[in-house]
Symmetry: C2
Subunit: 557 residues, 2 copies
């Protein structure tokens, strides 16, 4: 039976027009990346799991797509499982249960004994049926205790008295074994690879792995898809592209300056004028926290501050209070809430607010340098704005923080973001390598360009001319002309079937219309003999008879 | 502890030069695809498993990368597993074993009873602990029989007498449960998505899913990565790109003609002259099989014939004999083995060999039409060659079969292939849609271009000029010049740190050298005051002092 075709939720097919529009954005970004001296790299779609796991927090780990090992992937797990199962059965059969444990029975010691016996037995048999990768004793015992703990709850929830239903209890233990271990225990055995979750961690891995082939400072760009097992919703997909540019190996603030310019250059090239590049600095946030005596509550503090736009001053203060920030501290924040004016005047206010914090002052200095440089260099269409509430994954960034918002009047989250991180590569063994980078949100930029009708008409123009012929000889003559047109760079097609009826003629003209092909060439007997072509402009309906030279001229224009 | 970074076997990182070279090939192919009227589409990296599974044979199914479901993925499996485990335990505990079965015990009936009881019990408890997706009775029984059959062998291999070691036997049954079911049973429960294995099946799915938005004949191209869990070896990767162009919805042989032209156009554009486009037709292979009385052995016959190049005439005949093709039949093949001469003369010989087969004659006619058309149209640099031994996944193709080999003297497998398939979309519910397509082997084309030094020098040129400055004011002046250069399309960089020592000077010059940056601009106090730039050509060592206008002119040339 035929399957009803569909694609996984959160993924998309792209038709010709969508591919063309997406390419236009990516090529524009790429062109500017290259002008700024960034070099492309590409990394594999999947990485070893240990490269990705633990880099994005628990939530991130959960959202990483894992790839099942190939072949008899469960074998490795089973060869360990058997160590656990026999003592479990004995445990149930012996009626060693919680009650006994409560009465002072030493479960751990009991399993230690079991493990010894069992190891010996396996060894004596000298069989490799069991052993692929031996479970260490400690792990074995912890696993057992965890399972049994979990199982008892389950079994009792289900209404069993374990002692009276040994067989049944055992069956549940086994059936539930994997479940008890929350799947991620099993995952480690049956999956060793995972799909790329972002471009930053693979980039860090790349830098360390290839450090001897790289010249630092290393300016790289990377435009590739990433995958996240997030709940799909409007504008959020499970497969989407990231467009990143980063520099590693330089602490110079000129990098930040250049990234502001780069944002301006890309959005100007896309004719998306009036974007706002918001900038902040982690050191300023730390400084403020210090000043209000909430150094230890930096995250709570910034999470609350970040919401100022959405929930307003009063609610922000309320949240801070709830998180244990003192009233006195919050009152010191007052100037922050009422901070207005130009970049320069805000810098002045920050200097006064942060006068007692060395780190805060450092952050202000950095911002000041960037702003002054940009002032001297000028921006073409973007605005640079200080936004002291901007945090964006604070734990990650150590200096500048960037975020770009669409022009006023367009409702859309950020269309770009980035910042400086001082120690990204140390997880892979290369410490003290400062980096700074920015990212472009392809899907959102697409939506903004669509909303503002900023895609150039030309990018969706596909085929320029369709040849329609009225017989085999005419088709051959058409194909000869089509070949020459193509050699001269004209996108040309021939309708594969000759026209032998009025109905077919209509069908082929309709095809040209629906495909938005601007010109049709008709080749009948007359044209064949005269070596001419009847060229019809589809929009105006005008038709002219031309020789090949005229045809080429018309179609190249 | 820092991880030693690595990537999964069979995958690759690409550095800037490799990305540029790969892009060059892909862009060249894309340009020609578009000139021929093909439109781009893109499909998701992963599809629903049922879209891919069963489409590439058992071996293909095995090589498809499966993605583990998110969340508590094992729950669904466990809720079924419990149906199987309880009766299994009862079975062992009751001592119902093979011996009893041998004595006439009806195992199937016994399980049928067990299933009934168990279902009832579960129902009575009215619990949803067990049931997420109920196993149908038939499946349940088959699974049980399979497991037990398998287990007995295993257990006895291991040296147990089952009856004397019930506990142990049970433990092995469970530990081995997944293994017994060969992992792929489990896979169906814990994985619902799989990585794209080729571009053809997703294309077929796309055509059916979007048939109402598509104008037929539909000419599409698609350039995207695919993934295969194949054993990696030289030139074979687990992630690689495919570049496909297909037409669906037309049976016209002009399509085949255009694909021959397209191959010629692409390889000419890549300056890879002298490739051979080999062509055959499935109908000719069927015709030959018919003529020698081996219609029922078409696959064996073509597999053997396909090896003619590698193992020679005698061994091919031997293999055919072994596969049960008659001596008389093989003797009729003799003209095939000694077939030489031009395309046209081989067509003549085939006509004589296949005179008694209608299908064979049809195949010859098709080839003749294609050859005559190509003769009239001319090829720019490629040769068209009839190769009656060409088979390429025969079951797939129904008409023309294509394969492209590298120019003589380059040792490399095929660098392209394709053919006509008459019923690709019927698996997704759209029958009678003929298609024909070709594919380009990106990785192999890359190796050939590398071997023959055919990559243009320009494609690997990255940054054109590096600015080196001797202080903050100089850096700002440099950045102003760099900005203007970039606006004018020049790829320009500024070294982020100012030079304050001879050592740093050397370091920055070395950086320019290693990055193959052809020009360096030095900006010191003198230049700053005079508003000039010291432009140094790295290869010649020549240095000149220029104003910005002169600088731009020099760098744009």
């Amino acid at each position: 039976m035929a399957q009803k075709p569909s694609i996984p939720k959160g993924t998309r097919d792209f038709n010709a027009e969508e591919v063309a529009k997406r390419s236009y954005i990516m090529e524009t970004i790429k062109e500017q990346f290259q002008r700024y001296g960034f070099q492309p790299i590409e990394t594999p779609s999947f990485e070893n799991s240990e490269t990705l796991m633990g880099k994005y927090g628990d939530e991130g780990d959960r959202l990483i797509f894992k790839i099942l090992n190939s072949g008899e992937y469960i074998e490795k797990f089973n060869s360990n499982l058997v160590y656990i199962i026999k003592p479990l059965i004995q445990y149930f059969n012996l009626g060693v249960n919680r009650k006994k444990e409560d009465e002072g029975f030493n479960l751990k010691a009991y399993f230690k004994e079991l493990y010894k016996d069992f190891s010996k037995e396996v060894k004596n048999r000298n069989s490799n049926f069991f052993i692929e990768e031996k479970l260490p004793e400690e792990k074995f015992i912890i696993d057992l205790l965890e399972i049994i703990d979990y199982q008892y709850d389950k079994i009792e929830d289900f209404g069993f008295v374990v002692e009276e239903n040994i067989e049944y209890a055992v069956s549940i233990v086994f059936s539930d074994f994997y479940f008890a271990l929350k799947s991620n225990y099993l995952t480690a055995y049956i999956s060793e690879k995972a799909l790329r979750y972002d471009l930053t961690v693979p980039f860090a891995r790349y830098v360390v792995q290839h450090q001897n082939e790289i010249e630092f400072p290393f300016k790289r760009y990377q435009i590739q898809p990433v995958w996240r097992a997030d709940r799909p919703q409007k504008g959020r997909f499970r497969e989407f592209y990231q467009c990143d540019a980063d520099v590693v190996g330089s602490k110079s603030l000129f990098q930040e300056v250049e990234f502001v310019q780069l944002y301006d250059a890309v959005f100007t090239a896309l004719k998306l004028e009036g974007v706002t590049i918001k900038i902040n600095n982690r050191k300023i946030l730390s400084g403020i926290a210090e000043v209000i005596g909430a150094q230890d509550k930096l995250i709570d503090f910034t999470v609350a501050l970040d919401k100022l736009d959405k929930i307003g001053e009063e609610k922000v203060k309320e949240e801070m209070l709830n998180k244990g920030i003192s009233e006195e501290g919050i009152s010191k924040l007052q100037p922050l809430f009422s901070m207005t004016g130009s970049f320069g005047s805000q810098i002045g206010q920050l200097k006064s607010i942060l006068s007692s914090s060395e780190e805060g002052k450092k952050g202000v200095q950095e911002l000041e340098f960037i702003e002054e440089s940009i002032f001297k260099l000028g921006l073409k269409t973007a605005k640079l704005q200080l936004d002291v509430t901007l945090a964006r994954g604070l734990n990650y960034y150590t200096g500048a923080i960037f975020e770009v918002s669409a022009p006023d009047g367009v409702k859309m989250g950020s269309i770009g973001g980035g910042g400086r991180y001082d120690d990204l590569t140390s997880i892979f063994g290369k410490p003290d390598t400062s980096g700074v980078g920015i990212s472009f949100g392809l899907d959102r930029i697409y939506l903004v360009l669509e909303e503002l009708s900023l895609f150039p008409d030309t990018i969706t123009e596909a085929t320029k001319v369709l040849f329609i012929s009225f017989g085999d000889a005419e088709a051959m003559a058409s194909l000869q002309a089509v070949s020459k047109l193509r050699e001269n760079g004209v996108k040309a097609e021939i309708y594969p079937d000759a026209v032998t009826s009025g109905k077919q003629m209509k069908k082929q003209m309709t095809y040209a219309n629906r495909r938005n092909i601007p010109y049709v060439v008709l080749v009948g007997e007359e044209e064949l003999n005269a070596k001419t072509f009847a060229l019809k402009h589809m929009e105006t309906g005008e038709q002219q008879t031309v020789e090949f030279k005229g045809l080429l001229k018309q179609l190249q224009s």
